[in-house]
């Protein structure tokens, strides 16, 4: 098979699945899921230390041991100032300029604030970050993010943690058609491997997900299922899907049909 790496900010990755590290029942379950997924990139976050819980230190140690590339997020930030400062703290702790930029505008659907997102992205890029913005599927927002220097975009499929899949196929297809050269990763809302496969068939470059794997009864098995679905969807996109049509068309040749099938249909 021809090599088909995912290219993000000049780096090549074999896997097109990016996996979150939250919500697993235990650090070991998380590690098993990461291994089963074959992912090259994992997301993680920063929070105030809870003195009663040492889970954070354990998970961080476990994530470091995986050797995967780290994509820290600014989850929970609602203002440009919060996001920029959390990104700076991430860069120091994780020693990477990569940041999954989240600026949340509404608590109900955790929808990105498009105005804050563009402003924060512009500031972070000025400061030398490689910004992967978690954005909506709005074409003009995506164009603005590219305009301030983002080289990768991560539109939502549906709101975080809902598992509703691709809610607005028209918008997603529009992004793919209008931004053919931009790496587009569907981030959030993917609940089933079939949904991830569909996004990949549409030509998206990768899938970022967390809850669907972490909350499965068997996270490692679900991680493997997603990896397979994403590979299948990617291969299908590269192979070229047939056009749908209304009328049936026989797949078995008509020429050479036995005589008893040659009677005229009523």
């Amino acid at each position: 098979m021809q090599a088909d790496p995912l290219l993000l900010y000049g780096e090549a990755f074999d896997s097109r699945l990016l996996l979150g590290t939250a919500l697993y029942p235990s650090p070991q379950t998380m590690l098993d899921a990461i291994n089963a997924s074959g992912c090259d990139i994992v997301t993680l976050g920063l929070r105030r230390q809870n003195p009663k819980s040492r889970d954070g230190a354990q998970i961080w140690q476990a994530i470091q041991n995986t050797g995967r590339k780290l994509l820290p997020n600014t989850a929970g930030c609602k203002t440009v100032k919060e996001a920029v400062n959390l990104a700076e703290m991430s860069r120091e702790i994780f020693a990477t300029p990569w940041i999954k930029l989240e600026v949340i505008g509404d608590d109900y659907n955790l929808q990105p604030d498009p105005f804050g997102l563009v402003e924060a992205a512009a500031e972070l890029i000025k400061r030398g970050f490689k910004v992967l913005p978690y954005c909506t599927d709005d074409l003009v927002l995506c164009q603005k993010l590219l305009g301030v220097g983002c080289e990768v975009l991560m539109p939502w499929g549906s709101p975080i943690g809902t598992g509703q899949g691709l809610l607005n196929r028209y918008n997603l297809r529009t992004l793919r058609e209008r931004l053919p050269q931009v790496p587009l990763i569907v981030d959030a809302g993917i609940g089933a491997p079939s949904q991830a496969c569909e996004a990949m068939e549409m030509g998206f470059d990768g899938i970022l997900l967390n809850t669907a794997v972490a909350k499965a009864q068997q996270p490692a098995l679900m991680a493997q299922a997603f990896a397979e679905a994403i590979r299948a969807g990617r291969s299908a996109f590269r192979a070229g899907l047939m056009q749908k049509r209304q009328t049936a068309s026989p797949s078995t040749p008509i020429v050479g049909q036995p005589f008893w099938h040659q009677q005229k249909q009523q």
């Binding site: 590290t21 939250a22 993680l44 976050g45 929070r47 961080w60 140690q61 400062n85 120091e92 702790i93």
Partner: protein
């Protein structure tokens, strides 16, 4: 008892007899959380490691100390 300096550390109010040095507060944090990697913001502004010795907190300041967690 004279004037006390009140600092909010990770949303918990703490009082000090004099404005504490950031380095001193972080030493206390590290002693309580020996395994924790952390980064710091004072009044919502990131303070790089190289600046720890240069910062003293004043009455009403907030200190946020954050550490890695799983995230999506």
């Amino acid at each position: 008892m004279g004037f006390m300096v009140t600092i909010s550390i990770n949303d918990e109010l703490q009082q000090f007899p004099a404005p504490p040095a950031l380095r001193e507060l972080l030493s206390t944090f590290s002693a309580a959380n020996p395994e924790a990697a952390f980064a710091v913001a004072v009044n919502g502004e990131f303070v790089p490691r190289t600046q720890y010795d240069a910062v003293t907190l004043n009455d009403g300041d907030t200190l946020d100390i954050v550490s890695p967690v799983g995230g999506g």
